[in-house]
């Protein structure tokens, strides 16, 4: 069972819940069920202004990719296109399950910068929103309770969101995104509004759950340090194109302040601040 490592109790509950109603969850409930994303010649314009111009990209199932770039570079648009929140002007986006089946309607979830919880629903019911359209109400709540336990908030199930701290709200939003066992989780600067310590705690939580559930993760962030700490691969987007495509081959668990990570972070920042050509030369191929 995929949750064993985290919370045996939660895993048991999920198993019980699935026994209660096995038909309700899509196949993504099985471990190692990340969705692979393939993008061909993707273009998107708003009022004749091209935000994304001819982008090709492949995200293997179960990978963790971070997208960084200056404001307005098109990184959030890319994420919204993959999620189907925007219609592409041209090109194709293909989502595939590991076994090769096409999963255009596959469970893909997004975590926004703001938690976007329903203020009039209790924490538990907010998490259950993630299972909209699946199963019976009692079953949804049972699953939601297990997801809350994963993010360490089971004692807040009956509270109103207004009584939680910013970090707790974002954890509830994470539980809501994960409760349906998505094959793809997009994170649109989900930690931008949190204080530094809470942010590190959240990064560790996201990494832990990602390693346990093996979904495909796509993180859009301003914070280059966050990108190098979490991702296997970092894409630097500039003017709607992939300007840098770097692999982060530092083993996990990664230590904060690791010199390799710091060097990579410095290189990306250099690129973002001063443009191509001004980055440190020898680093090509060193980490990439």
């Amino acid at each position: 069972m995929l949750l064993d490592a985290l919370a045996p109790d939660a895993a048991r509950r999920v198993a019980d819940a699935q026994a209660l109603d096995g038909r309700a969850l899509p196949r993504a409930a099985a471990p190692g069920s990340g969705i692979a994303v393939t993008i061909r010649d993707l273009r998107k314009s708003f009022d004749d202004h091209a935000v994304i111009g001819g982008l090709d990209l492949h995200l293997p199932a179960g990978s963790f990719t971070a997208v960084v770039g200056r404001s307005g570079c098109g990184k959030s648009t890319l994420l919204r296109l993959i999620l189907g929140l925007e219609e592409p002007t041209g090109g194709r986006i293909l989502l595939e399950q590991k076994d090769g089946t096409r999963r255009d309607g596959a469970p893909k979830r997004i975590m926004f910068q703001e938690p976007r919880l329903l203020p009039w629903a209790r924490v538990l019911d907010n998490v259950a929103v993630g299972l909209t359209g699946h199963g019976k109400k009692a079953w949804r709540r049972e699953r939601a309770r297990a997801a809350l336990e994963e993010v360490g908030l089971s004692d807040k199930a009956g509270q109103w969101p207004a009584t939680l701290s910013g970090g707790q709200r974002q954890r509830v939003a994470l539980a809501r995104a994960l409760v349906s066992r998505p094959g793809l989780l997009a994170l649109d600067e989900p930690l931008g509004a949190l204080d530094a310590l809470t942010r590190i705690g959240m990064q560790e939580l996201i990494e832990r759950i990602w390693r346990a559930q093996e979904f495909t993760a796509l993180l859009v962030t301003h914070d280059v340090g966050e990108a190098v700490a979490l991702a296997d691969r970092i894409l630097v987007i500039d003017e709607g194109r992939i300007a840098l495509d770097l692999r982060v081959e530092v083993p996990r668990p990664r230590r904060r302040g690791d010199p390799d990570l710091a060097r990579l972070e410095g290189r990306i920042l250099q690129y973002l601040l001063h443009g191509p050509g001004r980055e440190e030369k020898p680093s090509q191929g060193e980490l990439a």
């Binding site: 929140l85 926004f112 329903l118 629903a121 929103v129 109103w160």
Partner: protein, 269 residues
């Protein structure tokens, strides 16, 4: 003596609590006592202003004869009927215009134009149309409560956080679910504001309408009493209006607290 400067002499805890509860009533009770004294000693003639005790006596007499209850019942029924008719049409139209641009474009301008006509100015016309029957009162009350409910329902729906609506869509809510779980709860605080305004206007409209043209009801009771110079009954009617308004407001508050418990602004304790 810094310590003495910092804190005023403290009363024992139960006394302070009682004092805090009694404080809002201090002023009305003083006024009432002063009023009674002024009339009893003859400073104010009881032909202009009855003593509080006379009003109480008039109330008891009217209650005994059953006249008070009949009129109160007639007025309440009229108020609620008008409110139900006007309020439900306004709520439906507010929802429709909040959710559909087409519906809004079609009707909103018209509604805004009619809104600028003071509805009580229609009384002469309404009497011509309906006479002094029930329809006249129902029409006026319905028209009066229409605008606050319409405007606040529309505003409530328009001000629902679009980020939450997008979230609902991303999580696969159908249009009906989106309405029930996101849009309606989000609009509710504003709808309640409209409801409270409307209840105030409901009583106001009814009283004016009954005072001018009616053959039963509280307004009629007050006008009859004026004919016979029964000033205590006139004051009694006025006090009943005040009580009815207060009761309607208190009921809305209870409803608000129950429905909006999630909102820190409405939370009890």
């Amino acid at each position: 003596m810094p310590a003495a400067l910092r804190s005023a002499p403290a009363l024992p805890a139960p006394l302070t609590a009682a004092g805090r509860n009694a404080l809002p009533w201090l002023l009305p009770v003083t006024v009432l006592l002063g009023w009674q004294a002024a009339v009893s000693t003859g400073i104010v003639s009881n032909r202009f202003m009855p003593a509080p005790l006379d009003v109480v006596r008039a109330g008891i007499a009217a209650a005994r004869s059953g006249e008070l209850w009949t009129n109160l019942g007639v007025s309440t029924l009229r108020a609620l009927a008008g409110f139900a008719v006007g309020g439900s049409i306004a709520f439906a139209l507010g929802l429709a215009n909040g959710l559909s641009r087409l519906s809004e474009r079609l009707t909103d301008t018209t509604v805004q134009m009619v809104r600028n006509v003071p509805h009580l100015s229609l009384i002469p016309l309404v009497i011509l149309w309906f006479g002094i029957g029930e329809e006249a009162k129902l029409f006026l009350v319905a028209l009066g409560v229409f605008f606050p409910i319409y405007a606040n329902t529309l505003h409530g729906i328009r001000s629902v956080d679009p980020a939450l609506v997008e979230m609902g869509r991303v999580y696969g809510m159908s249009e009906a679910e989106l309405f029930r779980r996101v849009i309606l709860p989000g609009a509710l605080p504003s709808i309640f504001v409209g409801l409270r305004y409307a209840l105030g206007i409901m009583w106001l409209t009814l009283i004016v309408a009954e005072t001018i043209s009616a053959s039963s009801g509280l307004g009629y009771m007050a006008m009859q009493a004026r004919e016979f110079m029964l000033v205590d009954v006139v004051v009694l009617a006025i006090l009943i209006y005040a009580a009815l308004g207060k009761i309607a407001d208190a009921l809305t508050r209870v409803l608000e607290r129950a429905c909006l418990a999630w909102n820190p602004a409405y939370r009890t304790v």
